[in-house]
């Protein structure tokens, strides 16, 4: 470490440690954002356990399971893409990132069909049939759409983030020596997986 004073250079200052720390700080706020929603769920479930139980049978467990497998697998591919980049295998890294994006799109397609079925059955807040449901079931579907919706938004943002990393690798701004952007995109994507790990059993599985 030399102590000579450096004038700000052409704007290409690079500090991987700070960038990672910043990413993590952001992820902590994300955890608390979803955490707050989980607390809302916890209270309403406690107050309406029978209604939540009945409503949970209206979800498709197999679609949920398929999406869980997709997210876990994409979490692995993005983690492997960072390993590949660190080892200098750019091509493999980019391919693994494309696989992750394909999994993200697959997740959204399944969600589209799942939500579509709910629209058909009138289970969406604001629809006529929804208004006739008992209070507990209305709360369940309200939370279902809000929480999986917010999670879905994160899936979209995560996929776009990974696209930027692919662009960076192709342009040469993300390299085996400067992989911090790919690492941060990976962290964000794992958060998406992390939230789903709790959403899936809470909405689909606990009968």
């Amino acid at each position: 470490m030399d102590h000579t004073f450096h004038l700000p250079n052409s704007g290409h200052n690079f500090d991987a440690k700070s960038s990672k720390l910043g990413m993590w700080l952001f992820l902590y706020t994300e955890l608390l954002l979803f955490g707050g929603l989980f607390l809302v769920y916890m209270v309403y479930r406690e107050l309406n356990s029978e209604a939540f139980l009945l409503a949970s049978f209206k979800l498709n467990v197999w679609m949920g399971t398929f999406n869980t497998v997709l997210l876990i697998t994409s979490s692995m591919t993005i983690a492997m893409s960072i390993t590949a980049l660190q080892k200098g295998n750019k091509k493999l890294s980019v391919n693994l990132m494309w696989l992750t994006i394909i999994a993200a799109l697959g997740f959204l397609v399944v969600k589209y069909f799942e939500w579509g079925a709910k629209f058909e059955h009138g289970l969406v807040p604001g629809m006529e049939h929804y208004d006739t449901l008992p209070m507990g079931e209305r709360l369940y579907f309200y939370l279902y759409f809000f929480m999986t919706g917010l999670h879905g938004l994160h899936v979209i943002i995560g996929a776009i983030f990974i696209l930027f990393v692919i662009r960076g690798v192709n342009k040469g701004t993300v390299t085996p020596e400067r992989y911090s952007l790919s690492e941060n995109a990976g962290l964000y994507w794992h958060l998406v997986d992390l939230v789903w790990i709790y959403l899936f059993p809470l909405f689909y599985l606990i009968h």
């Binding site: 607390l39 692995m76 492997m80 606990i206």
Partner: protein, 97 residues
């Protein structure tokens, strides 16, 4: 940490093992939930414990916390403690109404 040559690189094998463990736990939870639905075997507590094991594996291996500086563990611990505090306060509030 690009300025550091002895940075830890997770192996493909480790990522694959983490994936296999996560998939196994997922199918276990689904199986108990679907085939034991009549018995209501999957309690909230069991499901949350399994989910937490999965989340820990994701954080530890995929998110690299295991090999990162300790500060990330401490910060994560702080956030979890904060969340637990909220949860306890909320529970006390509801139980004493």
């Amino acid at each position: 940490m690009s300025d550091n040559n002895n940075v830890h690189i997770s192996s493909y094998k480790e990522h694959f093992s983490t994936w296999a463990a996560l998939i196994l736990l997922t199918f276990m939870t689904v199986a108990v939930s679907v085939f034991g639905a009549e018995l209501r075997t999957l309690s909230v507590a069991t499901a949350m414990i399994i989910a937490t094991v999965k989340a820990t594996a994701v954080g530890y291996y995929f998110m690299h916390i295991k090999y990162d500086p300790k500060i990330y563990k401490w910060m994560m611990g702080t956030v979890l403690a904060l969340f637990t505090f909220f949860m306890i306060m909320l529970t006390i509030d509801y139980l004493t109404r």
